[in-house]
């Protein structure tokens, strides 16, 4: 080893240690806060899962099919939804599917609640966006597994750390797309509203958000798909759902279980994607 290299190795910058002590600091000082989030989160998620599982699967399948029909208005898709959900029941992964779906929905809701306002704020303030951009890049490039470690440290095992990791992973999409949508509103439209005396708030609700809506909705779709991919990985920190059989299959080399669970995930992914697709071409209005 050359001298310089040896010197570099000997004088290691303790980045990892700093990070660790930061998390230790959080645990030491805000343990109550994180515990409260963990308890509240698990209560909400488990409660929703229990409630949905209380409904007989066939009734829920019909309800979801009805929702598909309402959203997309094509009988072909509704039929596909109906049959593929029956297929999941047949595979024996109904409970896991519901657990994953609940986690995806909660993660998406949290992402939208935080991401959309953040995107709007960033679109109005270029300095905020230039601040956010490296953070968003970071969030999207760090391997997803890395999120699990601090999430587990702060929130223990279970659904909540998976939810937190999912939100952190998926929130960048709605922020970016909302920013894109709001900042691409044509200037004449803004001036037209201004020339009739629109306030900042009116401008936001009557021009910017309606114009950006198709892009924001694309953000929702992306967010859902990202959440699904992360929810599966969440099984590593003890989140129940479709990821669990995958992890188990991996550990015990059960090819059949892996194929079946993987298939169920693919079916859920296709379902969610088709359900969220925009029915209208963008900017056609409601």
């Amino acid at each position: 080893m050359s001298g310089i290299e040896q010197w570099l190795v000997d004088h290691k910058i303790p980045v990892g240690k700093w990070g660790e002590s930061f998390f230790d600091f959080l645990i030491d000082n805000f343990a109550g806060f994180f515990d409260a989030i963990t308890d509240g989160g698990s209560f909400l998620i488990d409660g929703t899962v229990d409630m949905l599982l209380f409904i007989p699967s066939i009734v829920l399948i019909i309800l979801i099919t009805g929702l598909a029909q309402y959203l997309q208005r094509t009988w072909k898709l509704s039929l596909f939804v109906f049959l593929s959900l029956l297929f999941i029941v047949n595979l024996g992964y109904w409970t896991e599917t519901i657990e994953s779906l609940v986690l995806v929905v909660y993660a998406t809701v949290v992402c939208m609640i935080t991401g959309v306002p953040l995107g709007i704020a960033a679109a109005h303030r270029p300095w905020l966006y230039s601040l956010l951009r490296p953070v968003l890049d970071l969030l999207q490039t760090i391997p997803t597994f890395v999120y699990l470690i601090p999430a587990m440290t702060l929130f223990g095992l279970g659904m909540v750390p998976a939810l937190v990791a999912t939100v952190i992973f998926a929130v960048a999409a709605p922020v970016r797309l909302t920013h894109l949508g709001v900042s691409s509103v044509p200037k004449p439209l803004i001036e037209a509203a201004e020339s009739f005396g629109a306030t900042k708030k009116q401008l936001l609700w009557k021009v910017e958000i309606p114009y950006a809506l198709p892009t924001i909705m694309a953000g929702v779709t992306q967010c859902i798909m990202l959440s699904l991919s992360m929810v599966v990985i969440g099984a590593l920190v003890g989140a129940s759902g479709l990821g669990k059989p995958v992890v188990r299959a991996l550990n015990s080399r059960q090819i059949d279980m892996g194929i079946e669970a993987g298939l169920a995930i693919v079916v859920v992914a296709i379902l969610l994607d088709r359900l969220c697709k925009q029915r209208n071409a963008p900017v056609d209005g409601a």
């Binding site: 004449p188 509203a193 020339s195 005396g197």
Partner: protein, 399 residues
């Protein structure tokens, strides 16, 4: 009463305005100011007074500052120095310095705007677009609908109220823009090249429609155009702008007859004089006409002679000293078909050159011009030729 007044308005874009202002005062050009300070000069020392009911056309090439000046009226462009006074009831409000609340009031109640690219909200129906201004004021839906319906009827689009903007042609979209501007009942209408994006036939049609509407509405209109023919057709007053400065301001005929500089002359050279020049500026006045005793000779062949009474009214017109021609008084609401054969016509000196040529062609005789019954001049072939030649000599001079 003054509706809008620009008082020494300077508009400069950029961060370095304090440095740019003295250069504006020194009369430096836009290029010099840009090079020295990095600021773009929008408007320099713009002063115009627009009376109520006038249509003032701001006209110039692109980049001449005409839109910039227009947009100062509703505060879309910030004025660097000077005042923009806009009437609000009995007061004149300086929109360049008023607070946000007053500006909002002016925008909602006093000034409305029509945009070049229509600027309709694509996710809203036609009637929702027209109701935008009222909605922003907080007017309840039921009340809004009645007004929207009325304004859509005005621009004859009531059949289309539930369509979306993109389902309409360009001309129709701009009529929606007009209805939207009319909906707030603002007395001052800003129009930023509203018809430039339309093809020539539709443009002509919409200009006519606007003039027709204006006859009843009597709004104060500030209109931006880069087309002198449009400016001459629509404007009661025209301000010609070059490089951010107003180079000439006046009535259309004034500008055509006395272009202030080469830039204006260039515009005038390319316009059609027929609709702009009035006979008052074409005619040979009575005092310059030759006399045959107490009769006035109208043409150079001594063919037409007119006997006047003591006040100067036309008494009798003779052709070649033999035939007496009946005199027909041509009023604004007459058409050419109303003129009996073999008559000689008297008309107001305010009629356009085009109308005079039509009358000359239809009757075969020179056109007498009289004001309040008194003969003031005559327009015959000579005068018409001279009118056309003058136009072309301006064109030659400009090239």
């Amino acid at each position: 009463m003054t509706a809008v007044e620009f008082k020494k308005v300077d508009i400069v874009f950029g961060d370095n305005q304090q440095e740019a202002i003295p250069m504006v005062d020194a009369g430096k050009t836009r290029e010099e100011i840009l090079e020295k300070t990095g600021c773009v000069l929008g408007v320099a020392d713009g002063s115009i007074k627009i009376e109520e009911g006038e249509i003032c056309v701001l006209m110039g090439l692109s980049g001449s500052g005409k839109s910039t000046l227009l947009r100062a009226v509703n505060g879309l462009n910030k004025v660097t120095r000077g005042e923009v006074l806009v009437r609000d009831g009995d007061d004149l409000i300086d929109v360049a310095s008023c607070d946000a609340k007053t500006l909002r009031h002016m925008r909602m109640e006093r000034v409305s705007m029509v945009f070049q690219q229509f600027a309709l909200l694509p996710w809203r129906t036609v009637s929702e677009n027209v109701g935008l201004g009222l909605e922003l004021k907080g007017m309840p839906k039921a009340e809004r609908e009645a007004i929207v319906e009325e304004k859509l009827k005005m621009v004859s689009l009531d059949q289309w109220k539930d369509k979306y903007a993109h389902e309409l042609s360009g001309g129709m979209q701009q009529r929606v823009g007009l209805a939207r501007a009319f909906a707030t009942d603002a007395d001052i209408l800003l129009m930023d090249e509203p018809f430039s994006a339309l093809d020539p036939l539709i443009r002509d049609h919409l200009q006519d429609e606007l003039l027709e509407l204006q006859r009843n509405l009597k709004k104060t209109i500030v209109f931006v155009s880069h087309d002198l023919d449009e400016a001459l057709k629509i404007g009661t007053h025209i301000a010609i702008m070059e490089g951010g400065r107003i180079v000439q301001y006046g009535e259309p005929e004034e500008i055509v007859l006395n272009p202030a500089n080469e830039y204006v002359a260039e515009f005038v050279a390319h316009m059609n004089p027929l609709n702009v020049l009035r006979c008052a500026s074409l005619m040979t006045p009575v005092s310059d006409l030759r006399k045959d005793g107490d009769r006035v000779i109208l043409d150079k062949y001594d063919a037409f002679k007119v006997a006047l009474d003591s006040k100067g009214a036309v008494q009798k017109v003779t052709f070649e000293d033999k035939e007496e021609l009946p005199v027909f008084s041509f009023e604004a609401d007459h058409s050419l078909d109303d003129i009996p054969d073999c008559n000689i016509v008297t008309a107001s000196p305010e009629i356009t050159m085009k109308r005079a040529i039509e009358l000359r062609q239809s009757t075969g005789n020179p056109v007498l011009l009289s004001e309040e019954g008194v003969l003031v001049g005559v327009v015959g072939d000579e005068e018409i030729y001279q009118g056309i030649l003058r136009q072309s000599s301006i064109a030659d001079a400009a090239e």
